[in-house]
Symmetry: C2
Subunit: 311 residues, 2 copies
């Protein structure tokens, strides 16, 4: 099934069918209709390989997932971004890759990476949109309002009369964590955090960080955790030493992952929408590929405080 057959069926030449398929102007309404009828009745689908070989596009974009197992916020984040992205890709093929160097023959790429210093996107010679703010390069990106979320968390802790506030900050090369903590600092401007501990993005690391925090600031009464996974560990450690949450210590997380609703007490946290992140990034990339002018270099999606039992 190829252009030739469709052309014969419609009583025109290959070129004309091609023109109709590619929305080119200068085809009389009558022939256009004939061609469309032929296409429909033959259930013709263009051959992608031939199309990209002859033309200049591949109609394929890469979704590059550059992450290590223990450096991901939570799996729901990735799943959400993927779901949102594929649905926003408007008929294009999405190839997923873990290693950017395996990627070729694509029109553009969506890169989701925790690390703010990923050197890889630049190696792709196509338009790139990042999911998550980069720390060190000027590429276009879509991100949650991590700063604003941090501010919300900080104001909430202040409203709860917490004045000895500790921070379990996550890694310093993860932009989202950096921004979240910056937001908290901004909300706390008059009375800076009593202690800041960096840690990995796992419950175990969060528990260990909570232990150090308690050691250096024994009277801490509010804790802001850069991710829910960290907060889970903090809650666990606090329970193990008999500290009451929220009576003795308020705990606030970030992500609103499933575990936030399941742990005891349920976790006050800041919600972001991975689906919207992926969808918006896809939209932005598609728009760029379509040649739309004046596209924003960065897009920031709102976050929202969800108050539960831990504060």
């Amino acid at each position: 099934m190829n252009l030739e057959e469709v052309a014969r069926r419609a009583g025109v030449s290959r070129s004309t069918v091609s023109r109709v398929l590619n929305g080119s102007t200068g085809v009389s309404p009558a022939t256009r209709a004939a061609v469309e009828a032929a296409v429909a009745s033959l259930r013709y689908l263009p051959n992608q390989a031939a199309r990209s070989l002859a033309g200049t596009r591949t109609d394929t974009v890469a979704i590059v997932v550059s992450e290590e197992r223990d450096r991901v916020f939570d799996d729901a984040f990735l799943t959400g971004v993927l779901r949102g992205a594929t649905s926003g890709l408007a008929g294009r093929r999405a190839v997923v890759a873990v290693n950017p160097r395996e990627v070729s023959d694509v029109d553009g790429a969506l890169v989701v990476s925790m690390s703010g210093h990923d050197p890889l996107p630049r190696e792709l010679r196509v338009p790139v949109v990042l999911v998550g703010r980069p720390l060190s390069c000027g590429l276009a990106y879509v991100d949650s309002d991590n700063l604003g979320g941090g501010v919300l968390a900080g104001r909430h802790l202040i409203a709860r009369e917490r004045r000895r506030i500790g921070v379990l900050a996550g890694p310093s090369d993860v932009a989202a964590c950096v921004d979240r903590v910056a937001g908290l600092r901004r909300a706390l401007s008059s009375s800076p955090p009593a202690g800041v501990i960096t840690c990995a993005l796992t419950p175990d690391s969060g528990a260990a960080a909570m232990a150090s925090l308690l050691a250096s600031v024994p009277d801490v009464n509010g804790v802001f955790c850069a991710t829910d996974a960290i907060a889970i560990g903090a809650l666990r450690y606090l329970a193990s030493v008999g500290a009451r949450v929220p009576e003795d210590v308020s705990v606030v997380g970030f992500d609103d992952s499933l575990v936030a609703t399941v742990c005891t007490p349920a976790l006050t946290t800041v919600r972001q929408s991975p689906d919207d992140l992926g969808n918006t990034a896809a939209w932005r990339l598609v728009a760029e590929l379509a040649g739309e002018p004046d596209l924003p270099q960065s897009i920031v999606l709102p976050t929202e405080l969800v108050v539960r039992g831990s504060s």
Copy 2:
């Protein structure tokens, strides 16, 4: 940068370069070496489009994720399968799709779907390997040993002296759930379950199902849940009516998802490995595409009981 240039550089013809690239036999070691040197020094990458247009393969496989939002075990399952699959695809391109009808120009497909009655895989005119046992078609598949896991759970409840056992079974069209419950029944052969409630794969549905179970079997002292998500809901409901776990009722889940370690009490559950599932399915598909004979029609991966506080 194309075959022509590489050929010129190596002082041979296009065909010879093509032969070397495709591992065809009958090339003298000397010319092979010359070609490989040229390829390396020019950093030549074959054009995928041209390759699939001329040849019979596309070197890309589809990963079809056919799921609705509320019918997924947990997100970690999907991410795991995806991670395992992409790493097992041995250099092939992986295109992800939600709708199988968007899939064309691929050599084969991996289909991950909860529903056992998915009519879609057959529409793809290429080799297909399913992740998860199909209920109604005879396609090749890779699955966790859900039956065996159910047996493990059943034996465990018996060992805990639980004789009034209820089942929160999940949907009857999800093969994994059906198999898990079948395994439980097998372990309980002498004394069948006191009650079986079907439900959706969400905590809320699990909570509602637990309520019905308690209504019809007030003295239930053991509950097997087809998934951890269901078990979370069951635990929540039991706590709300003041039932003690595990003193009054033992609860066992299935999946060993992250929430199983976070809830209170921590959940006894059966562990499966989504990564291995995806990886094995990819391997099986690649082997079939390579024409390997005598491939197994089904592959079943072991599951493992993880005992925690809830039993």
